[in-house]
């Protein structure tokens, strides 16, 4: 039995946990406000909110219901547009209509849900962040003009209407952003959570966020016994133990992006991960999935390679560790046995004299997989490199660690000449294939460009851009 709350309704279902939430909502519950436009996380028409008890409050996040296994709704509050509707339009809805934020209306419920999610999540409101939260919703009709104005109008309504001593949820309820049944959700979830039994099943098919698996294989997953691991507390969390950072394999990209710990070590961390998918994708996508999916252009993998991370695998009681750079054997082939699951990823905290940079180029700046990406981690003293790790994605069948290039640079002092030579070496290490994200020729060119960009950004005094090459 999977128990959860759908809008204002308690749900108990024994449908397979591997069917996608979207099908449950539309086909079983006939809540047709949630739409299906792509079934692969790229349009946002299926966006719903997922509320979860975190330290005594309910935290909401937007997710793509087309890629989420029903089982992961267990113990949660799922909100569709019907669960936002009240007698009168909410400010988000009213401003969307007034500003011309809806034309054909097919994308509209998705936008309403995402924008409402933004208000639920955040009390420090600004239009840019609100638009950022809509990055996973596409609209073909409106050109987003009316939608952007609606976001800013709604923020004004909230700011002008909120009472300063009321808590955020109460403010949202009194301003009709959400119906008042939201007030009781926390108590109801507390009851459900204690009752709910784990839906995990022993199975070879490990499903984490599902943002890779359901894209290609949803039909074969339906009805299969998937091992849903994304809610497994043992696999979650981001922590520092001594000099080591540990990231549980089920940590989501959004958790990693917003982690204060990681932001402390990497000042531009948030900006790097802004380029990963969209907010609803990041809310589900996990680090473990990114590693095991073995896509040559995975962004998280690319960063982790340059941090010289270690992958910790376990199979029941059996455990072993392997350096991430040694984990990939060939295109989508890993040094991992069928029953092994990724437990966590670790890397050493960056040393004081270290620098880090991540670069990604994609056809569409946002919500797109990289054409080429690259990361560098370098420890140096007055320009002399003592330790360096560089990764390159999209230029080989696997996420690539640039071994020869790193070896070449070790113990060298950075100057224009050295970087030029290093770039030459890197281009010999790669074997780009032409794929949907660009031709081989173009990718070599991009990598070189990104390679230079790293060093110009990190060592501006030592590398003379004008003299490079």
């Amino acid at each position: 039995m999977i128990n959860f709350i759908l809008n204002d309704l308690n749900i108990s279902t024994d449908l397979p946990p591997t069917i996608v939430l979207l099908d449950f909502i539309r086909k079983e519950k006939m809540l047709t406000g949630t739409k299906e436009g792509c079934r692969e996380g790229d349009c946002g028409a299926c966006t719903v909110l997922l509320g979860e008890l975190v330290k005594g409050t309910v935290k909401y996040k937007s997710v793509n219901s087309c890629l989420m296994p029903l089982g992961d709704a267990s113990g949660k509050h799922v909100v569709t547009v019907e669960g936002i509707n009240q007698k009168e339009l909410s400010p988000v809805q009213a401003t969307m209509v007034d500003e011309g934020g809806t034309q054909c209306g097919f994308c509209t419920p998705g936008f309403v849900v995402s924008m409402t999610g933004y208000f639920l999540n955040c009390s420090n409101l600004n239009t840019d962040d609100a638009i950022e939260s809509l990055g996973g919703n596409i609209c073909r009709c409106t050109g987003y003009g009316g939608i952007k104005r609606a976001a800013s109008d709604s923020i004004s309504i909230f700011e002008n209407g909120k009472s300063d001593n009321g808590n955020h949820l109460e403010n949202l309820i009194s301003l009709k952003f959400i119906p008042d049944y939201f007030r009781g959700i926390k108590k109801r979830l507390e009851k459900i959570s204690t009752n709910h039994k784990s839906v995990e099943k022993k199975s070879n098919v490990i499903i984490s966020g599902g943002t890779d698996l359901y894209v290609q294989r949803w039909e074969s997953l339906v009805g299969s016994k998937g091992n849903l691991i994304s809610q497994n507390k043992k696999l979650s969390g981001i922590s520092r133990i001594g000099k080591q950072i540990n990231i549980g394999s089920a940590a989501t990209i959004e958790e990693i992006k917003t982690s204060k710990l990681l932001q402390k070590y990497f000042p531009k961390w948030n900006n790097y991960l802004d380029l990963f998918g969209s907010l609803p994708i990041r809310n589900r996508a996990t680090i473990g999935g990114n590693i095991v999916n073995a896509s040559p252009i995975g962004d998280m993998v690319n960063i982790l390679l340059a941090l010289n991370s270690t992958v910790h695998l376990k199979d029941g009681k059996k455990k072993r560790s392997i350096l991430l750079k040694n984990f990939y054997k060939g295109y989508k082939s890993l040094d991992k046995k069928k029953n092994e699951i990724v437990d966590k990823i670790t890397f050493l905290t960056p040393s004081k004299n270290s620098l880090f940079n991540f670069e990604k180029i994609s056809k569409r700046t946002y919500l797109d997989i990289a054409s080429v990406n690259s990361s560098v981690y370098a420890e140096s003293k007055s320009g002399k490199i003592s330790n360096i790790h560089i990764s390159a994605g999209g230029v080989a069948p696997i996420p690539l660690y640039l071994n020869n290039t790193c070896n070449y640079l070790k113990n060298k002092t950075i100057d224009t000449e050295t970087i030029r030579n290093a770039a030459e070496i890197s281009l010999k290490e790669i074997s780009p294939i032409s794929d949907a994200r660009g031709s081989a020729e173009y990718k070599s060119l991009l990598l070189r460009q990104l390679f230079y960009a790293h060093f110009i950004k990190l060592f501006p005094q030592l590398v003379d851009p004008e003299k490079l090459l």
């Binding site: 047709t32 406000g33 739409k35 792509c38 079934r39 692969e40 349009c43 569709t80 547009v81 019907e82 339009l89 009213a94 209509v97 011309g100 809806t102 034309q103 054909c104 209306g105 097919f106 509209t108 419920p109 309403v112 638009i131 950022e132 809509l134 919703n137 596409i138 073909r140 009709c141 409106t142 050109g143 987003y144 003009g145 698996l213 894209v215 290609q216 294989r217 039909e219 999916n293 896509s295 989508k332 180029i361 056809k363 946002y366 919500l367 797109d368 997989i369 032409s434 794929d435 949907a436 660009g438 031709s439 020729e441 173009y442 060119l445 991009l446 960009a453 004008e466 490079l468 090459l469």
Partner: protein
């Protein structure tokens, strides 16, 4: 003097806004009926193949399969088409493009039906394929439809003046070739339709159908029923942009055949992949331009040769390319013009109507060309357009004299360039040196002088494009529209147009027209669901003709009823002829009369006096004429004008183009629905910008690579910068209060303006759309092999 409006041009919110914003609006896939079955399509992954036999024995006893639907089940026409009947409902003899459907399986569970599909054994022989339109007319190439004897779909010639003389008189001659790409409509709602058998009463269809009347005609032909036995209802349409016409007619016909056979409702609902695979797209064009001009900038002659890839079926190609032949020179007065536009068959995905309809392609070419002329003469883009631009009384390429409306080309140009400080910016950006000019295409690496700091790699550019556009269908067809209007005893109103709401806000526009005419507010008007059994055929909702034609019919209906109400008042109060009646603020005001009468009371009175307050309004376009041989005539009865300015930042290191701001100035005549009009500009510009920078359907031997939104990329909210709409309301004698069209002009200019802006930034011209990373960086399109995102493990 300008008329004072009460509702027209005011920001009135959408009539259907409430349903849409709450998710209550019902789209086709949201309908479910008792006993409803689903149908899935049988296809082969071949571009051109002869089908020898199909063996269904493995699925005949499959529990999941209720019925197998083949062409043998079709009671009527087996081939259909908008213009030529060349498209089979089921392609069980020959497949001419990968989207072709051979047969269908019908059952309860689509997942199980899909796995049953793989058990059907198809014996076929692959045939030689034709995917290069330039080889279509080569006698050695295979014929796509052998019975037609040629791969030529249509040839539109246009001859004006003496082209040789024009070139002789020119000081300069410039020849350029441009190409544009195949693109997808990318409506977010995939196709869906349900057919419900009604026994003796025929069949009812509910679907995501753009043109219920075209669908009715085709369904009736296929199921062999008279028109009155086929009722087509348009569900809320989740975007169309011209794309839910042919495909939806055929899907509806298939669903109807199945529903009649199994005698249960049957639904077809496409996945995104099927939608992109089977639906028609925008024509890719190859455009050759030769232009002769004086040193003064005056164009003397233009010779144009355009080849459009129509793909496997004719669809709307003849009409799409007809608009191209009319507008190919751009909005310029040129004495000597010689144009040939041809559309040809290939095995590629077929192409048809799409918002813009044969104009974005030539606009990209001729507006790039105008900038080239300017650069060659050391002028700026504004000057050369002013010298040649159409003015009142100008003669167009088709020999038509522009009159009866404000020819506002130069007005929109001036407005846009002043607003953006165009000329200063253009000069400034042009001066800043760019590294890409020195770029060596054979050695795609930067040398030292080319490499600079990443932030400095960003260069700014500004560019503009102008266009004129004929309104409505023009000489393409008979142009008339109807509307049903009925006032109830309490003053509430039913309104229904024969044109369809496709998301563009037509219902709101029409409600505003009725409200204005009767002096009431829009909230008392109830818009009925589009249904072929309730209102006369009004032709297709295409060519941005809804406001002009449909609006004209609505105004006509409202005028008829207002006149009846006036007559009633005159009779009742025995008014003199000189006494005037004004309908305003829900009242009928009578000059010299003390107390006005409310609209509600007036309607009650009309009911008591037996006045008929229901009518059909009608609007027929003024006549146009056309000579097929010379391409001369009054192609359209009126035109609209637009100018867009694009401001971009280009990363020379990576080829990324950032769209900073687009200023769109349009003259759509009188604006009826202000919010709707601005919405059209935002939406059209964003689509046009996608066309210019990202969007492309590529094929490998006819097979589409970009089958979902992971690879077919449209702009997100974060990718498009500011859009500034500016509307200039020109005078016009036709249409409701002089309202014309806006939907398509907004889209046709943007790619051209962006391309000119990128050229301003980099000092290098691009001839092939879209301006994606590789085009900018390498100057050529490189075709990738197919790789889909997602987990293979």
């Amino acid at each position: 003097m300008k008329k004072e409006f009460s509702v027209v041009g005011k920001p009135i919110i959408r009539e259907d806004g409430f349903d849409k914003i709450t998710g209550r609006a019902k789209f086709a896939d949201d309908y479910k009926f008792d006993g409803m079955l689903h149908a899935v399509m049988l296809r082969i992954s071949e571009t051109h193949a002869k089908i020898n036999s199909i063996n269904y024995s493995e699925v005949e006893n499959d529990q999941a399969v209720n019925s197998i639907i083949t062409s043998a089940d079709i009671p009527g026409a087996k081939k259909v088409g908008m213009i030529k009947n060349d498209q089979p409902i089921f392609c069980d003899e020959v497949v001419v493009t990968p989207g072709d459907v051979l047969a269908m399986l019908v059952g309860e569970d689509t997942t199980r039906l899909r796995s049953a599909l793989s058990k059907i054994k198809i014996d076929y022989t692959p045939l030689p394929t034709l995917t290069d339109p330039q080889k279509s007319l080569d006698p050695k190439s295979p014929l796509i439809h052998p019975e037609l004897g040629s791969n030529l779909i249509i040839h539109h010639p246009l001859r004006k003046g003496n082209i040789e003389k024009g070139f002789t008189e020119s000081d300069h001659i410039l020849e350029q070739t441009y190409t544009t790409q195949l693109i997808e409509h990318a409506y977010i709602e995939p196709e869906a339709v349900i057919a419900i058998p009604l026994g003796q009463n025929g069949i009812k269809i509910i679907g995501s159908i753009q043109n219920p009347f075209s669908a009715r005609k085709i369904i009736a032909a296929v199921v062999n029923l008279p028109l009155d036995k086929v009722q087509v209802i348009q569900a809320q349409l989740g975007g169309s942009f011209g794309g839910k016409d042919d495909t939806m007619c055929i899907l509806s016909a298939r669903a109807a055949v199945a529903a009649i056979k199994v005698n249960r409702p049957v639904k077809i609902r496409y996945t995104r992949e099927e939608s992109i695979l089977e639906s028609y797209k925008r024509h890719p064009y190859i455009l050759n331009y030769k232009v002769g001009f004086k040193s003064s900038g005056k164009i003397k002659a233009m010779q144009i040769d355009i080849l459009a890839d129509g793909g496997a079926y004719c669809s709307m190609s003849p009409f799409v390319t007809w608009r191209s032949v009319v507008q190919a020179t751009g909005p310029y007065e040129i004495e000597n013009v010689h144009t040939d536009v041809r559309a040809v068959y290939t095995n590629n995905p077929y192409t048809g109507a799409m918002r813009g309809f044969g104009s974005p392609q030539p606009v990209f070419a001729n507006e790039s060309l105008m900038d080239e002329i300017a650069l060659q003469l050391g002028m700026n883009p504004v000057e050369v357009r002013k010298i040649n631009g159409l003015k009142a009384g100008s003669i167009t390429a088709t020999g038509q004299k522009l009159q009866n409306h404000d020819v506002n080309l130069l007005t929109v140009l001036d407005t846009a360039t002043k607003e953006t400080d165009f000329q200063n910016k253009w000069k400034k950006y042009k001066k800043d040196k760019s590294i890409i000019q020195k770029y060596d295409f054979n050695k795609p690496v930067f040398n030292n002088s080319q490499f600079i700091e990443p932030d400095q790699l960003i260069k700014k550019g500004i560019g503009l494009a102008v266009s004129y556009r004929g309104c409505s269908l023009g000489a393409e067809g008979i142009d008339a529209a109807a509307c049903y209007l009925s006032i109830q005893n309490d003053g509430t109103i039913y309104l229904l147009s024969g044109l369809a709401e496709n998301g563009q806000g037509l219902r709101t526009t029409f409600s505003i027209i009725v409200a204005e005419e009767l002096g009431i507010t829009t909230d008392n008007i109830f818009y009925l669901e589009t249904d072929t059994s309730r209102v006369p055929d009004s032709g297709p909702t295409v060519a941005s003709r809804a406001t002009l034609m449909g609006g004209g019919a609505v105004k006509n209906a409202a005028e008829i009823l207002r006149t009846r109400l006036e007559e009633l008042i005159r009779a009742e109060w025995k008014l003199k002829a000189a006494e005037k009646i004004i309908f305003k603020n829900n009242l009928a005001l009578i000059t010299n009369h003390k107390s006005p009468i409310t609209f509600q009371d007036l309607c009650k009175l009309a009911a008591n006096r037996g006045v008929n307050l229901a009518t059909i309004g009608w609007y027929k376009s003024p006549n146009v004429d056309w000579n097929e041989q010379t391409g001369q005539g009054d192609a359209y009865f009126t035109y609209v004008y637009g100018c867009q300015v694009a401001e971009v930042s280009v990363n020379q290191g990576t080829g990324e183009v950032y769209l900073d701001k687009i200023t769109a100035v349009h003259d759509p005549g009188t604006v009826i629905n202000k919010l709707g009009a601005e919405g059209q500009i935002y939406g059209g510009v964003t689509q046009g910008a996608g066309y210019g920078t990202l969007e492309e359907v590529t094929t490998e031997n006819g097979l589409i690579r970009e089958l979902n939104f992971d690879q077919y990329l449209i702009l997100t909210a974060k990718d498009i910068g500011e859009i500034k709409p500016i509307i200039v309301e020109g005078k016009e004698i036709y249409g409701p209060w002089g309202a014309k069209s806006l939907g398509e002009p907004t889209l046709e200019l943007t790619a051209a303006a962006i391309s000119n802006a990128v050229c301003n930034a980099l000092g290098k011209r691009f001839f092939n759309l879209p301006l994606n990373l590789e085009e900018i960086l390498l100057g050529k399109k490189l075709r990738p092999v197919e790789v889909k995102r997602g987990s293979l493990l």
